[in-house]
């Protein structure tokens, strides 16, 4: 058996003829496709999708959801999720505005308070999930409702005010790039590096992929889970700061915008498995941008805003269905005999062991319907020795 055939045998990269792209690449290909289609549609109306106003609009839309979705990515990677982010955004916008109270000198204090509050909520979420073993769906749903109850009781309308300097966070632009988007991208980069460069980041993939394997490898899975939720809430806190900056005040009612569901949609659209263990920030940003471009294009085309909801729902389901399809295709199974009919769904994706040079390959199987002849001599390649097998054994 030569070295080269062996390479094919064991290290075989499964044939990727049908799907050449990883999930992240696929997201950005889809993004480019949507941008092109959008540009054409907008162009047919005699407008330019890429003029400054439209570009700024796209980026502005992406920043708020971007913050939340980055955080959500951490939670989902760990096979968790966070349904409380929308409420955290609302709460922290109020915390920011009421702490700052229009005083420039208190901006730092306000930011600190937001990070403290959001971090504490994330800590609580993480601990309830990791220590009390409550289902993440229930934990964060409950946490969201608790915050909602507090907000509904304490704040009927806008509260607090944000100094003009801080409002710049919401409105300043660096060329065509809004400051908030730049900050969001910086956070994305930080998150990206965190997942790629820190041990905890590595371990998030392990916890989401297989918590048991992670534990057996000495990873403290509970800490990783708590970290993910703290980061998730902190990102939601940043989004709350952005809301406060844009509105100039804290607004409890922004939780009505279903940010938690939008962020999950963006993350899943970005190719991160809802069941954890695979994905990343880059895909999430792709997902966020897809949603933002769609919004902008619909806006220019004056599509009914409610139609956007419909389409968004359809797109999310379709995207996950496509990913699910790819997952199914990927299921590998050992093939001992070639499939005579070639009709099996698993045959194209499963590893094929080519007849190798040193040891003799198997004979092709008899065609369907023809009585297979077990009495025929055939070779096994285990050691290269030929074994003669009788149909009715020696015992008779």
């Amino acid at each position: 058996m030569s070295q080269t055939t062996e390479t094919v045998d064991v290290a075989q990269q499964r044939s990727r003829s049908r799907w050449n792209l990883g999930p992240t690449e696929l997201v950005f290909v889809a993004l480019v496709g949507i941008v092109i289609i959008g540009a054409v549609l907008v162009g047919l109306r005699g407008q330019n999708l890429f003029n400054t106003a439209n570009t700024v609009d796209m980026f502005t839309r992406s920043s708020l959801l971007g913050f939340i979705a980055i955080g959500q990515t951490f939670a989902i990677l760990c096979r968790s999720l966070d349904l409380s982010v929308g409420y955290v955004v609302a709460l922290t916008s109020i915390v920011a505005a009421t702490t700052m109270e229009g005083d420039t000198g208190r901006i730092g204090l306000g930011i600190g308070a937001v990070l403290l509050v959001s971090g504490a909520i994330g800590l609580a979420n993480g601990l309830i999930i990791a220590v009390l073993r409550v289902n993440p769906f229930i934990t964060t749903l409950g946490m969201g409702l608790i915050i909602k109850g507090y907000l509904d009781t304490q704040y009927q309308g806008p509260a607090g005010s944000v100094p003009t300097q801080f409002q710049q966070f919401g409105f300043t632009r660096l060329g065509f790039l809004p400051l908030s988007t730049a900050v969001m991208l910086a956070v994305a980069l930080a998150g990206f590096l965190f997942l790629r460069k820190s041990r905890t980041g590595y371990h998030m993939f392990a916890v989401g992929g297989n918590a048991e394997v992670a534990r057996m490898s000495g990873i403290r899975t509970g800490r990783v889970m708590v970290t993910a939720h703290v980061l998730c809430s902190l990102c939601a806190g940043l989004a709350g700061l952005l809301i406060a900056a844009r509105f100039g005040t804290g607004s409890a009612l922004v939780y009505d915008n279903l940010y938690e569901l939008d962020s999950i949609a963006a993350v899943v659209l970005g190719g991160t498995l809802l069941l954890g263990g695979r994905g990343g920030i880059a895909g999430t940003i792709g997902g966020v941008l897809i949603l933002a471009v769609l919004d902008t294009v619909f806006n220019i085309l004056q599509v009914d805003p409610f139609f956007k909801d419909v389409l968004r729902g359809v797109i999310i389901i379709a995207a996950v269905a496509i990913y699910a399809r790819r997952q199914l295709d990927r299921k590998a199974r050992r093939i001992r005999f070639d499939d005579g009919n070639g009709g099996s769904a698993t045959s194209d994706a499963a590893p094929k062991v080519p007849p190798s040079a040193g040891s003799s390959g198997r004979q092709p199987p008899p065609p369907a319907g023809v009585r297979g002849a077990p009495g025929d001599a055939h070779e096994t390649s285990q050691t290269g020795t030929t074994i003669r097998q009788g149909p009715k054994g020696e015992g008779r």
Binding site: V10, Y202, V213, R336, A373, T385, G393, G395
Partner: protein
Amino acid sequence: MTTLPSGPSAGADTGTTVVRMAGIDKSFLGVQVLFGVDLDLRAGEVHALVGENGAGKSTLMKILAGVHQADGGTVELDGHAVSFEHPLQAQHAGVSTVFQEFNLLPERTVAENVFLGREPRRRGLVDAAQMNAATAALLEDLGLTWLSPQTRVRSLSVAGQQIVEIVKALSHDARIISMDEPTAALADEEVEVLYRLIGTLRERGVAVLYVSHRLKEIFDLSDRVTILKDGALVDTVDTARITSDELVKLMVGRPISSFFPDKIEGTAIGETRLRLDGCGNAQLDGIDLELRAGEITALAGLQGSGRTEIAHALFGVDRFTRGSMWIDGRRVRVRSPRQAVRAGIALVTEDRKAEGLALNQSVMANARLVLDAVQPGQAGRRVQNIPGILSSLDLVARDVDQEVRFLSGGNQQKVVLAKWLATEPSVMVLDEPTRGIDVGAKQRVYSLMRELSARGVAILMISSELPEVIGMADRIVVLRDGRIAGELSAGADEESVMSLATGHAMGGEQ
């Protein structure tokens, strides 16, 4: 077999005893499974551990690995007594284990898996370059240059994944590696790669504990072999000084007692109920099989030889893509378990908890599940028989509303049997029907099989336990590598079954 390193070569500390396990006892909840077993491993040797199912191989290995703790006896590592509470402890001490089920993250790369939980860092950040380089060095060192550290594990074949497991184990500076049936899931071509790797390990002075059912591998690979039977040590011998015939004799050859009930008076072998004609799919080829009324046919063979695959294909869990299947003389196509049930087939699966039971449901709910699922309209009449069936099986439960997860293994198996008996099948396939159940329940299963065949049910029993195969079957069909290797009539001895299953008698070894 020219590619294999022949025998231990001269490493620095080859031959020194690194592990000495002495007088190991182990019980699980009162059932003793190991009786004072001794085992020693030397640096640079491949030490095979053989025995039938339930002989205690896996338990012994898991004690060494720190998964279980011995009740009695000592484990010494380099002459110092050790007691591992957790697999991680064993790993730190240089004892690594490759378990049967993979402990890998498919979505991560080879390097990321190898260094999981102890990624190298520089200035607080994971140093991926170093990690990849270290993995590459490790791979190169083992002659595995074709495997890239940055390949995703998911895209590797089963053998590739197995090799990553071993590399992961080695990366802990393991001096002792145990492997539990490492070839069970491998194709023949892939086995070669594993052979070469084990050869390299031996040259490095690593002690390899190799658990396998496959005699050929044992003779191909091992320097010494330890044989366990019924939880006790039979012998440890140099592999070169023993023939495969002798080894088989040491492994089996238990006196068949009156443990197995006799055939019930008047049981007659009748007409063919189910016939497979040249059936095959990706795992099977050229399967001809006839199951006759009143006959117990045993399907024997090694793990991975295709036994369960046959059961799954004829039950519609998988499909035959070639050949034809006939029930009572009519050609049928079974595409789902539902159709199989309708055709009168029952399947008692190998994995009771994962495939046979809904553990949080009651005894009754489980027992009537097939009736509920397949014939809801007529469930009523047959459901009334269930309490009778359960009590005839001597089920021990608080009442039929008790959840089955609270029952012992034997009683759980009785619930599974009741579930299928309630459908009054004409063909009953039993995949490892006595695995993991106590002696009393085993006897009840055997006598049930006799009763069923007396009633004209055609029975296909899949079993790894040779005494059971010999003691119960009217006819033994032996599988090897997805094909029928031969057929033996009742009264065959264990050695001839083993010979067919391993193919050793035809000159397979060295």
